[in-house]
Amino acid sequence: MQEPRVVEAILSRYRNLIILAIVIVAQLLLLAWQVRTTQDVRLIRVWAVTTVTPLAGVTEAVRRNTIGFLEDYFILLDVREQNRKLREDNNRLKMENIYYRNQLTTAENARALSAFQLQTASKTVAARIIGNGTASSAQVVFIDRGSTSGVVKGMAVVTPDGIVGKVIAVYPLASQVLLVTDPTFSVGVESQKAHIHGTLSCNGSNCVVDYIQNEEKIDPGEWFYTSGEDRIFPRGFPVGTAASVKSGQFMKDIHLNLSGAPGAADEVLVVLHGVHQLIPDTPPEQRVAQSLPAPPPDAAPGPATPKMATQADKIKQKYIDIGKEENHVYGAIGGNMPNFNKPAAAAQSPAQAEMPPKPAAKPASPPVVRPSPPPTGILGARTPEPTKQPAAEKKPSHVDNGPVLPLGAPRKKAPPATPPQP
């Protein structure tokens, strides 16, 4: 008879504690069921994500369209929007650039030529990060692309600069991405020079490459790329550079600087269809910005100078050629005068020969007949009789720019210029 009373007394006295134990045990059972069956309580998650992500999206949109509106249209005059579009274009072009340069590098050796022909570019879809995961220690973000955009669990998420993470949960309008900086995430990587394979694991910003033996040679600053062995990231995406390389007890102790910013990126690319690439021979920086070769030494000016800028330069060159042909030294006393009336073809310089021919029917400059003074020639020479020819058939032997004196020809002393009258 007293047992029920004792039980009631215990229940009433420890009621809160018992309820606490029941709630804890219930959650433990839920946890154990999820871990054991590797299944998820998807309904609750879908409800939560469907409730929160639109609100976060609206918050982000309101922030962009109110605060950003004032800045865009009244302060920065839409510069921010243009900057965003340019950044998107730049990211896309950088991705294409990396791909094509990888392909060009690959095509340089015949071994990879067939791969180059068979490969196609990875198909990606752009996404925006709209929020962080609620677990404080975990490196998880949400993106605004879900199953309606073709995103599937397990897809790789990258930026043009490096890898970001992988999709671990997909909802209709959003997806959850586990960043590479999460302690539970590992990536297969491969060194650039010796193609040594290892495993990248990070704890926040501290990233190390494991499972590389001490006998292998890795240089500080050497690039690491995805190896594709994790079946998540296609091979050939840049990961980062070796910040420090030390020999450990059994394996090398390699710290890596990630080339991308997994937590700080705003826009990412989800790889819908990955394509493996070969590891490029040159690091990404050199491939993106290749320095020009050294400029050639200054060439000595001479008749072979191909470029002449003005008409005066061409005439000067013509007279120099005539002088050389007739062994005339300009400026010398007592020498014979060269015949400057020779046909233009005979004295045509190689540079002039390279010039495109002028159309015969429509000359560039119509001939102008001037009775006096004689257009060219030596001062004092007989002026040839002007023959009446049709204007179209008259071929000018020179370009009429007024009287031009040959270089080195004796010149008349110009009358002293009268000083301007005040």
């Binding site: 959650q27 871990v35 929020g131 962080n132 995961g133 975990a138």
Partner: protein, 178 residues
């Protein structure tokens, strides 16, 4: 026992507190806390350390002074937080259930209106929450996640600093609702 310690242990009267703090308002504030946890690090960088759902659980436990409602509220907030994380449901639920229960238990002995008490309890409960979460992750899920006590202590300090004005705002909301 000094006069100050007696003042700290004084039990204030909190009748009808839940009536003013309506259930709908609780749900709305919980949703706002979850969204803040979700969105704030994107809006303001380097605010990942803020555990606003935990601060809300501590506040509710301290002010409600009812172990049952506090533990259920903690379980609700924790499960909501779990549903937006990548780990199985129940990790934050168990941790916050315990925090809510203990906060309500402690509030029966201390004057939780005192700023120093609030600061100290928040600091302690944050450390307990993070340590318990790490332990469960390691023991139940088998995940080897490194523990950085210095970082957790610093985060606990920052959360306690944030908690003091946040609790005052929540106090004002409670008063405005009366």
């Amino acid at each position: 026992m000094t006069e100050y310690s007696e003042q700290l242990l004084k039990k204030p009267l909190r009748e009808g507190w839940l009536n003013r703090f309506q259930v709908l308002a609780l749900l709305a504030i919980t949703l706002v806390a979850i969204i803040c946890q979700f969105y704030l690090p994107r809006l303001i960088p380097n605010t990942e350390f803020l555990e606003i759902p935990l601060l809300l659980t501590i506040y509710f436990g301290l002010m409600r002074q009812n172990q049952l409602s506090a533990l259920f509220f903690g379980a609700f907030v924790g499960l909501a937080q779990d549903s937006l994380s990548h780990l199985p449901l129940g990790m934050y639920g168990i941790a916050k259930t315990l925090v809510g229960y203990f906060a309500a238990s402690v509030s029966m002995r201390f004057d939780v209106d005192n700023v120093l008490v609030r600061f100290t309890l928040t600091f302690f409960f944050f450390f307990f929450h993070q340590f318990f979460y790490w332990m469960m992750r390691r023991a139940l899920l088998g995940q080897v996640v490194p523990l950085d006590p210095q970082k957790i202590l610093l985060q606990a300090l920052l959360n306690a600093v944030v908690a003091v004005p946040l609790f005052m705002i929540l106090d004002r909301m409670k008063l405005s609702g009366s």
